[in-house]
């Protein structure tokens, strides 16, 4: 209950700070593992293909 009431009174900075700490608390080894798994993929994922399309489209915009 206490934590809940603290969250309720948090401002945007506190919320961002909490989120940032949560994200950066992922161990480096886990990140490296994810990167390794990405590297051994033989196909670009749909998300990567979509991102490439968007980047290319953005470049072509006047």
């Amino acid at each position: 209950m206490k934590a809940r009431s603290t969250e309720a009174t948090d401002g945007p900075f506190e919320r961002f700070d909490r989120l940032f700490r949560a994200v950066t608390s992922v161990p480096k080894s886990e990140v490296e593992k994810l990167e390794a798994r990405e590297r051994i993929k033989n196909r670009r994922s749909r998300a990567q293909k979509k991102a490439a399309k968007l980047r290319k489209a953005a470049k072509n915009e006047p």
Partner: protein, 158 residues
């Protein structure tokens, strides 16, 4: 070149006695490129507004998203589906892996019966069996294909 820590993390069956690294990491080609013998492209169907993206190649009108599409690529290169993954002197073989109903990897058999694989953007490895790459990352071998060796030679020894 020995062993690769990343590869061993992704494929727990790999160990010092059943594989060895045979190239540096290279982002410009993948397993399909390595299997067909064209390391100048990353073989995948990547297009923007219908136009191919530089560095990528995929044969026209074939699907890169299905095992059938990958099979067709190898049919274009003279392969036909077969049953056995065992080494046969006069036959060159490839094995297509499937994960979650999609093609994930292809390995090529070497003279002598070992297999060679390009691990995505990472390194090439030589591995004693196909099983060592089966698992969470590449799934299971779905299709084996073979073709007669050309004048007794295999794709990279032509």
């Amino acid at each position: 070149m020995g062993r690769d820590k990343e590869a061993e993390e992704c494929f727990p069956e790999l160990n010092g006695s059943n594989y060895r690294v045979t190239s540096q990491k290279d982002e410009t080609y993948n397993c399909v490129a390595w299997a067909v013998g064209d390391t100048s492209h990353f073989w995948d169907d990547v297009r923007v507004k219908g136009r191919r993206v530089k560095g990528y190649f995929w044969p026209p009108r074939l699907s890169a998203e299905t095992v059938e599409g990958w099979k067709q690529v190898f049919i274009l290169h003279g392969y036909a589906e077969c049953d056995s993954r065992s080494f046969e002197t006069e036959l060159e073989k490839v094995a297509i892996f499937e994960l979650a109903n999609e093609p994930s990897h292809v390995a090529r058999q070497l003279d002598g019966g070992k297999w060679t694989s390009k691990l995505g953007k990472s390194c090439d490895i030589e591995h004693s069996t196909l099983d060592v790459l089966e698992g969470e990352e590449y799934g299971k071998v779905k299709v084996i294909m073979s073709r007669p060796c050309k004048d007794g030679k295999r794709v990279r020894s032509l």
